[in-house]
Subunit: 472 residues, 2 copies
Amino acid sequence: MAEPKQPTDALTDPAPPPEGGIADPGLGVDQAMVEALDANDRRRARELFQALHYADAADLLERLSPEDRARLVNVVRDEMPPEVLSELDETVRDHVIEHMGVEDLAAALVELDSDDALDVVEELPAAEQQQVLEAIPAGERTLIEEGLTYPEESAGRLMQREVVTVPAHWTVGETIDYMRMSADSEKTTLPEQFYDLFVVDPAHRPVGTIPLSQLLRTRRPVGVTEIMEPEMKLIPVTTDQEEVAFVFRQRDLTSAPVVDDAGRLVGAITIDDVVDVIHEESEEDIMLMGGVKADDLYRATIDTTRSRSTWLLVNLATAFLAATVIGLFDATIEQMVALAILMPIVASMGGNAGTQALTVTVRALATKELTPTNALRVIGKEVLVGVLNGTLFAVLVGCVAWLWFGNPMLGVVIGAAMIVNMAVAGLAGTTIPLTLARVGVDPAVASGVFLTTVTDVVGFFVFLGLAALVLM
Amino acid sequence: MAEPKQPTDALTDPAPPPEGGIADPGLGVDQAMVEALDANDRRRARELFQALHYADAADLLERLSPEDRARLVNVVRDEMPPEVLSELDETVRDHVIEHMGVEDLAAALVELDSDDALDVVEELPAAEQQQVLEAIPAGERTLIEEGLTYPEESAGRLMQREVVTVPAHWTVGETIDYMRMSADSEKTTLPEQFYDLFVVDPAHRPVGTIPLSQLLRTRRPVGVTEIMEPEMKLIPVTTDQEEVAFVFRQRDLTSAPVVDDAGRLVGAITIDDVVDVIHEESEEDIMLMGGVKADDLYRATIDTTRSRSTWLLVNLATAFLAATVIGLFDATIEQMVALAILMPIVASMGGNAGTQALTVTVRALATKELTPTNALRVIGKEVLVGVLNGTLFAVLVGCVAWLWFGNPMLGVVIGAAMIVNMAVAGLAGTTIPLTLARVGVDPAVASGVFLTTVTDVVGFFVFLGLAALVLM
């Protein structure tokens, strides 16, 4: 690929864009900042920080060591761009807030949109939350406190309270005049950015949406009901954010009205909030499948150690279960040590085949592509794939075992064990997440442990058991 | 959570929304459709299909068995809503297109926006692509053919060609009049939906963006340059789509101008396209880490079997490597069969601890949170976490081994092996993906195999080797 000519973007990237491409965070700044902090050059550090786009400033804070981060926050605390706070990873944000103090934090929060401020406040410890809320003026405080009454990770937490609504009897001209007027007035209620207007009935229930691009291409005398789209997805305020993200992606929405129990419009969710949710949710799934918490990278060593040990403990229990199965056949292994050499192969191939089936199933559940309509078909397919690949690798491994230890029956035994274990892997890889989902457990979390328990136990038992029957 | 009152949404959901929430795909339709197809009731099948929102129609096609899908396509082929095609999963789309035929496909493509049509055409086999392009009228065909000249998964493939541009000397009033006029004219060049206008210089280079919500709140005589935002991220047309998604998420963009080598505006990427990319890319990473291809769910059994066997073959090679290491110590195992029973525990705990470190590292690389600035710190942390958890579990496993086999030295040996293997796991879990990323290999793909090879080989070697030294 030819290196694209780099457009200049001087206002957002103070360092010349390095070769990494348009998204490169600009590592030159990191080093310059550390040098400025080491030299205790507060003016230089402040200059470097202020020149950054807020997203880049947040990234810089994340990459710095905790000590450098604390020093930098102490330098810039009274002029921290509020958007930096909402961009920060949770652990880093706690750290930054700790060094900013309540006063500076409250001052920054007031400048944010209600949904972004809520985002920061909801994650504070209860005591600090109270302190910060008290330092915020009444108007903004009420919006944030109302937001906190909605369930965590719900549409209510995600939505902007500032929405542009239009009564159904207005024309395009009246709507545009109204917007110009409220923009000019001191106490504007218009949100900073919006993509759609909502037409509401007298009870403030949404009856249609008007994309701005539609409003702009329509002549002034036309009534808003003539150009509105009456088809819309109303989002109940308690809807889970994952569900919200699904609908946005499914329906290619840019914004959607949020309604309360009575169907009244209480806010709007815009796609930029949803982008973050999509990213967070898939990040969470990947992390859970790997046995770690989403926030792991920036945690202190001791927190990481503690949080990961839970998962390792569960794994240890299953490893002991597998060891117990092997222990049943100690006499057999004593007579034929080749079994000890080959047995990890059977378990490992079963585990890998099972993980493949599991990954597909867990994702298909998350994207709602796996439903009662096709569940049986998918299970059947996975078992069949297990049998087919099992047979293929049974022949391969059987021949190698025969040649290695000069015993054709050993080859037959390991081959048979592999076919059984890989078929079981296909069955377990699909039915375990399906069952977990049915009983309401997130299949991304626990499926992996159950699966390897099954493939280890079945693998060792069938291989060693067959060997005891056939070879002894 | 209280069940939210379900808003009616009669036009998009023909079946009453079931309890699953707002995003439920409505399984009632599946069964009704299968019944209609079984009864060969073409009118009923057609009615059911036409009543669905295009996204739900696509989901229905994906969930149906291949036979039912073929029957349904034959019924609705001449009135297939074009948007259904761009929503379909690739394997299913191939299947649907095969049954639609070139004529009906070309007719559907003409109705799509240029980027969506390109999306469908780019994935057709070369011969079919040619046929379909020939059946499309010249104007639309040129746009699609131009799109095909950009690299796959680049900004050029993602962008819409239809962009609203405004010369820098215009006022807000002139801009609105222009839009109203072109909307009224027969041959409108306005895209269906847009969120920003681009102000361009005489050489058609973008000099600023105007969000529509800004335009609407400004009085007519104001010049466009007064309200435009001159800060913007220009996206070179060859930029990789993953990079594009990163910038959108990072900068909270809703649309961005795409420029050619000379800096001229050639198109615009809007956030709805990026949402799909974010979803696809994380989906791809999850699948790759699980050893499967992204498109696995809907593939035929034989294709799935073949595609997964590659990954299993690689795993088999590493399993044999581990077996060879065990083979080095066959005499030791023969003397003390407890070693064969316990050895999978050492390997499995190392593998799990390593996977935790690996997952965090792979994601941090993908989100650009891991950079030369903090790489050494992260590696150091992971090794330390490995040593700490290794020590914790060494004590636990050591005691169990001692009690189980009545041999305190066996407990010491397995404990020491676990500490070493889990420290190595932390080191390998970070350095393997960092190295792969540096040499340009996607760390999500291959890291897992390398990691378990290391933790198996080191685990078996250290445990059995120490046992041979100390216990024999």
